[in-house]
Structures are given as structure tokens and as C-alpha cells.
Symmetry: C2
Subunit: 341 residues, 2 copies
DNA sequence: TTGTAGGCGTTATCAA
DNA sequence: TTGATAACGCCTACAA
């Protein structure tokens, strides 16, 4: 079986006995074409089932109408919400989306970056991997004046735009809430400190302790991949401590829930013995018992804003932004896991 | 700031004083070019920071090296696992991915289909929306000999390949398990029956009842969007029944968990009063108390297999498949929510 | 083993 | 308002 012959503007022009130039203009809604002619052309295109060839077009206009997205992994609630938000905008604006996962590895991230570069995406949306320690691999984009935006997992830089939440403030408020519940020995589970998100949360956490004259205990700080299993592992470590903390603030919900379940299994009462709080407001927080106190992180909105900002930048043909970073609002959500009073 | 001049094979050819044909061949690893020449060309390309222009290439070879994916919504655990699986293969094989969401609407699905068509994807991976009642909108692909594969939410057809699980069997086994727990009045929560997945589960459910001489009660069948809120709604309906069921089998985990939590809130004991079971094996099933009995649905594997099969078909340049459908294995996972004995 | 040249489908410049 | 034509960057007969 052979495929159907592809219909081009040449076919339309031939059938109508006019030039391809006019056809092209009509198809692009150029004003300089008589309404009557345009109508005929559009009808013919329709009846011939014509589809514009984006490659020929891209070749000419040097725009690909696609946006690249590089993220650590797609299958977390937060990340898939972001993607969903991004997609909701790109679809409307007529942009395609090329998505790739770094799986938290710098090599993958670099490889993905190269692929995006060869594919000549019009812009790039990136959430950095755990391992990423510098951002040299985005230089080619900057040199070509292609806008790059970091979201969530950002990087301290003046060359690209960062879209994030105020992690420090959110962590501060959350910690303060725990302190107000009379907790004195608060543990923290964190992720890769190379990443601002986690580092800032740690800073906010420490600041709240200090401001309330509480000591930061090194043995109450745990660092891991922030998944459920490692959360359970932290629980086992905590159970072995001579003195257990009376509160735990985990840098994401998955890990915190994993920890919570394991503690419960060992007979620890939440929140009476240990108050707990996570971060993200994943659906899981409303399923676990007790429901988990957390910070609402607006993933979908972040996707929407990232995509919209990037597309604006593409349209204005400049890779630089007025702002250096955009901060989204978060909200502390207090649930039973931390309510002692 | 203006962007750097783009380097092409012409530049390489000029610098080396050879023809672009040779350069092109070297870049494509053609055997008919002297090793020495090839080496020089590759080095020059490297030092010039050359990137092949995929649009010029696509224009010539009529392959885009991109795969389209149309799904209802990305932000469910199952779907993001599938995407993750797809991406893991496409990246290796050098294909880009264009993802779009139908949001369960047929208009969106059709619009997305058209976009994919204009973008001339080399192949299409589709999970149908709730509303989709026919698949005429994929005809253009078939006519152009572009392979289309339906996964999960499939459609009874001979024209395209279906990749799915044996929903009927899985539902049958699950129902049988509930019956073995001595449940006599089993309710079922289902989704859009236009979709094979849900219809087949219902059929399997009914078959198990019949084979065990249990009656199917119309008032024990609930149909909704299968999210948590609607699950809670079902719970409220059930609480109002003169005689409550003694087991509930929900067609997905989200909805079943929503229902379970609401029943618990009303004082219903799970599994003593009502045994419960879901479908998918989302992480949430291991968080809810009691842990939810479910069917393991291998989303990542399904993504991997779908992508691999599609790419093979693309490589063989034929849109037809030997097989009409591929069935993946599932596994019944029994947890406390249904263990009465 | 290498080179010449035509063409893929568009857009854009210039002229009519 | 329309038309002729030259790119855009690449691949691939065909010729050398």
C-alpha cells in the first residue's frame, strides 16, 4: 500500500489557475488578496484536504512552533500537574511540546538539552536534576537568543528567568506553625541541597528555629531522594534515636507520608508523639491518616505561567526578561497531622 | 542582540574545499566516503558547532522523527507512568514526543488529532476520551499510512492496533475474590461505558456474579467520572440505601478511595461491613487505611510496549500490524480492604 | 570515492 | 492585487 499523494499549494494554485504566491498569501490571511480570491482558495484547500507543511515553513521562517520541556521525572503528582498546565497553554497558542526526562541525572539532562537544540525548539522550560551543579549546557540556547526558563528546580543566575515559589518563606511559616504547637525538637527531611528549592526550605526551617530560640540539631536533619521508601527509612532511623524529635517537617509529601506510615506501624502516635508536615499538597495528603499538614504548591498554575511567559518572550523575539524571577504564592494547609491543641 | 549565524553543510564544505554532497554523506555515516575525508568532516562539524537542520531534512525525507500522543489527561498516576514509559523508549530511539490532552472531550480530541496531522507525526499513540464514540478522525492517518495505536482506552476495530490488558478477566478474578470473602451483594462503580476498559470490567464483574449464582442488582451499579469526589458521592448514595452492599468494586483506585474515606467517616467498617477493591494499583492504595485491594496495571510497561511497537511499525514503513491487539498481564493484589477472613 | 544539480513546500522580494 | 522567482538546508540520483 502506498500513501496518498500529499497536496501542496501548487495543487491548489494549479486547480484554480492562479499563482502559488497568491495561494500562500490567502492561506496566511494576508490582507493584500481580494476577498473573493481568498474565499475560492480557502474552499479549494478545504475540499482538497490541504494541510500546511510545517517543515517547509520552519525551514523558511526559522521558527519551529515547538517548546522543549526537560524535567527530572514526569510521574509525580506535582510534575504532571505542571505539564498539564503547560500543555493547556501551548495547545491554545499552537505550539507543540517536546518532553524529556532527566531521571535526576546530569548526563541525561545534557543529552536532552542537545536533542532540544538540534530540534531547534523555540524555547525551553527546565526543572533541573538533582545532580546539576552548573548550567553551561544551556549556553548554546542563550547564544542563539532562544529563551530558557527554569521552574521549580531553579538555579541562581542572571542569564535566565526563574519561576518558583518562596520556598524559604513557606518553610518558615510551616516550621513556625509546628513551634506554635509546642514542638521543641523538630526534624527536617530534605533533598539534594544543590537545588535551591530544598536549600531554601532548609534555610527557612533553620531561621524559624532561631527566631524562636530553638536549637538546630544536626542529628535531626535527614537528606535523601524524598520518596516513600526513603521516608520509611528515616522513620526507622528516628526510632533508634535516644531522644526522638517531637515534630518532623519533610520537604515533600511522598517522603513524609512514607515516614508517617512507618512511624505509625511502630506505635508512634501522630500528632501526639510526633507532629508531621509535608510539602506540595499532593492528593495523598488527604488520604493518609491523620491527614497531612502541608504547603499548597500550585503546580498547574506554575505550568501555565511558565508557558505563557516563555511564549511571550518568543513572540517578542528576545531571550531576556525584564524580571529575574517570578514568585508564586503558596498557602499553608493545616491538617490533623500537626494539630496538637 | 542578533543570533549567531547558523552553520550549515555549505559552511563545512566551503572550509574544507569539498562538495556538500560528501559532507552530507559523511554526516549520515555513508560507507561510500573515504575514512580520512569523513574524519576531517566530522571534526570540522564539531569545531563549527554544527547542528543538522531537521526541517530541511524532514522536508526531504518526509519523516519527522516525532511521535504524537493524545491522552485524556496527564495528571493521574497511571497516565504519567505510561508517558514515562513511552518517553524512555522514544528518547533512546531519537524520536521527539508531542503530547496533548483531550480532557475527556471529543472536540479537543479531534482538534488535537488535526494538530498532530499537520505536524506530520510519524505515528500516533492514543488513549480515547470518555466521549469518543467513533474513530473517523483517525482516518487521515490511515490514508497516509501513518500507524496509529490505541492503548488502555481502546476501540473495537480492525484498522488499528489495540494495546490493553484483559479487563474482563481481571475484573472477573477480582470479583471472584470478593465472593470468596463471602460477599453476596457486590456493588460496582464504573466509568463511561463507551470505553472498552470500563465496559469489559463490568462484563467480567457480571460474569463472576453469574457463575457464582449471585444476582446483579441494578441499584448497586454506579457510573461516574471516577474521581475522588464522585467516589464520595457514591458513598453517600450507598448510605441512603435500605440495604447496603457488602462489597464495592470500583473501576479505579481514586474513586474507590474517595468512596472508602466517606464510608469510614460515616462509621462503616471496612472490610467487616463492606469489603472494597479498586483498580490500577496507584500509590494511594498503600496509604489509605485499610490498604486497598486492587489490580496491578503496568502503566510504565504499557508505555514502553506501545512506543516500541509503534516505532517498529514506523521503521517497517507499514501502518498495519500482524496482530490486532496486544494484551498485557495484570495481577490481583489482595490487601486488608477486602480480607474478611 | 566525489561532485553536480534538482527538488522537497514555503515564504518573501521584486516587478508588473 | 497578483505573479515569477529566489532562497531556506538537506538528500540523492546521476555523472564523473
Amino acid at each position: 500500500m502506498t500513501s496518498e499523494k500529499e497536496v501542496t499549494i501548487n495543487d491548489i494554485a494549479a486547480k484554480l489557475g492562479i499563482s502559488i504566491a497568491t495561494v500562500s498569501r490567502a492561506l496566511n490571511d494576508d490582507t493584500a488578496v481580494r476577498p473573493n480570491t481568498k474565499k475560492k482558495i480557502l474552499e479549494m484547500a478545504e475540499s482538497l484536504n490541504y494541510r500546511t507543511n510545517n517543515f517547509a515553513k520552519s525551514l523558511r521562517v526559522k521558527q519551529t512552533k515547538t517548546i522543549g520541556v526537560i524535567i527530572p521525572k514526569i510521574n509525580s503528582h506535582f510534575m504532571s500537574s505542571v505539564i498539564s498546565g503547560i500543555e493547556s497553554i501551548t495547545t491554545i497558542e499552537g505550539y507543540g511540546l517536546i518532553i524529556s526526562q532527566s531521571a535526576e541525572s546530569i548526563e541525561n539532562e545534557i543529552r536532552n538539552t542537545k536533542t532540544m537544540f538540534s530540534n531547534r525548539v523555540d524555547g525551553l522550560l527546565v526543572s533541573l536534576s538533582y545532580e546539576t551543579a552548573n548550567i553551561h549546557h544551556f549556553e548554546p540556547f542563550r547564544k542563539k537568543n532562544t529563551p530558557v526558563i527554569f521552574f521549580d528546580r531553579t538555579f541562581e543566575t542572571n542569564d535566565y528567568l526563574n519561576i518558583q515559589i518562596d520556598n524559604r518563606k513557606a518553610a518558615y511559616k510551616l516550621t513556625e506553625h509546628l513551634i506554635q504547637q509546642n514542638c521543641k525538637r523538630i526534624a527536617h527531611i530534605t533533598g539534594a541541597l544543590k537545588r535551591d528549592v530544598y536549600n531554601e526550605r532548609l534555610i527557612g526551617f533553620k531561621a524559624a528555629l532561631k527566631d524562636h530560640k530553638l536549637k538546630f540539631h544536626e542529628e535531626y536533619l535527614f537528606s535523601n531522594k524524598l520518596n516513600m521508601d526513603e521516608g520509611a527509612e528515616v522513620a526507622r532511623k528516628i526510632l533508634r534515636l535516644k531522644q526522638m524529635p517531637d515534630a518532623i517537617f519533610g520537604a515533600n509529601d511522598d517522603c513524609t507520608v512514607g515516614c508517617l506510615l512507618e512511624l505509625k506501624k511502630a506505635g508512634v502516635k501522630i500528632p501526639e508523639d510526633i507532629a508531621m508536615a509535608g510539602f506540595n499538597n499532593d492528593p495523598i495528603t488527604k488520604v493518609v491518616e491523620p491527614n497531612l499538614t502541608t504547603v499548597n504548591y500550585p503546580g498547574f498554575d506554575m505550568g501555565v505561567i511558565s508557558a505563557r511567559t516563555l511564549i511571550n518572550s518568543i513572540k517578542e523575539k528576545k531571550a531576556s526578561f525584564q524580571e529575574n524571577s517570578i514568585i508564586l504564592n503558596t498557602e499553608l494547609i493545616i491538617r490533623e497531622s500537626s494539630r496538637k491543641t
